[in-house]
């Protein structure tokens, strides 16, 4: 739930006239709403109510509704980028292990932080809304591209695809698996778990690049 202890929400008594950490409490209320009721289910008023506060109080901390959900997304990208970086590091010094770990990290993030995921990818806010948001999203993308660049060193140069294309493929497959199979939305449930689907899909893809043996 990632809730600071000082930060009351609807189920906790308010401290008094002043909240203490309303800004973050509002972000977390927004994340809960978006997680429980989908991207449409978030309203400024209800987030305020969840945080135990009048809607007008929100305007002490945010320019408006859009600004609040954008901050939720920004925090999501921050966690996401950290998670990708951690996955990359944990696979080192093997370029292959590092790359596979980042692929898994995408799905793991969507599972563990569904509110953030929705704010980032399904709420309709543009990543170019603010420079900060664009920068942190770029940081996340850069980790994946770095992992792809490392790995592509193991492909003979003449048949080596650009690393940006490489990472785009993996990003697309990860995103597709999450959207279609991990979140219950349009795809009926597949007989395979999203984790298996992503693992095996990336496996076939890497074999196609000649990076893992045909017998593996």
């Amino acid at each position: 739930m990632r809730r600071s202890a000082r930060c009351p929400t609807s189920d906790m008594a308010k401290r008094g006239y002043h909240h203490g950490n309303l800004r973050q409490a509002l972000v977390e209320a927004a994340l809960d709403l978006v997680r429980d009721k989908g991207p449409t289910g978030f309203t400024l008023s209800e987030a305020a109510k969840k945080a135990g506060v009048t809607p007008a109080a929100v305007y002490r901390h945010f320019a408006g509704r859009e600004d609040l959900i954008a901050e939720a997304a920004r925090q999501g990208y921050e966690v996401f980028a950290d998670l990708m970086q951690f996955a990359y590091d944990s696979g080192q010094p093997s370029a292959l292990a590092a790359f596979e770990a980042t692929g898994r990290a995408y799905l793991a993030f969507a599972r563990r932080y569904p509110g953030h995921y929705i704010a980032m990818f399904e709420s309709g806010i543009s990543v170019n809304r603010t420079p900060e948001l664009a920068a942190v999203a770029q940081r996340a993308r850069d980790v994946l591209e770095k992992a792809a660049t490392d790995l592509s060193q193991h492909i003979p140069p003449e048949k080596r695809p650009p690393a940006a294309m490489f990472s785009a493929h993996i990003w697309a497959m990860s995103h597709g698996v999450v959207e279609l199979f991990a979140r219950n939305s349009p795809g009926t449930q597949s007989p395979f778990s999203p984790e298996d689907l992503l693992e095996s899909g990336i496996g076939v893809y890497l074999r196609g690049l000649g990076l893992i043996g045909a017998d593996n």
Copy 2:
């Protein structure tokens, strides 16, 4: 635009007291709205206005707001399934050509019918909302799985992945490419066109299955 000639919209004069084909006009108004203003931008009232009619008139043809957007999605799945079937047929008798054609058809559909695409995949309506909707969505999925089954006959049985997994991978990559790179949403634009990205991604994947040569 797929608009029947008998079917006036906002920019055409109404025929009189009776509309003629209001039901379909409302569906097309909803598709236009959703295409131009995103999944959130659709309201029953505005769709009615676009069709040159009072909001109350909508209730002669639909149970309510949800029912209208669900019908738009249903028609989208119908077109989608037809398109997939056509692509599959056009690649015959080559299993490989048929499969690659269905992959391309996914992206082509998203490009040519953005309103339908959004209604189907981004409006949040569940595919299990009605039996009709579930059935036509299944029909679309079956085409891809049939293409995958055909193709997997060319893989030695002991290293042959299940066709359902096979088609799920391609569906996921196609969906991911569309969401991240063809619709402008979260991913900044990549240096590669979505078409190139999907083509090359599927190419690598099929090479990984041993279905096309390493020199291709």
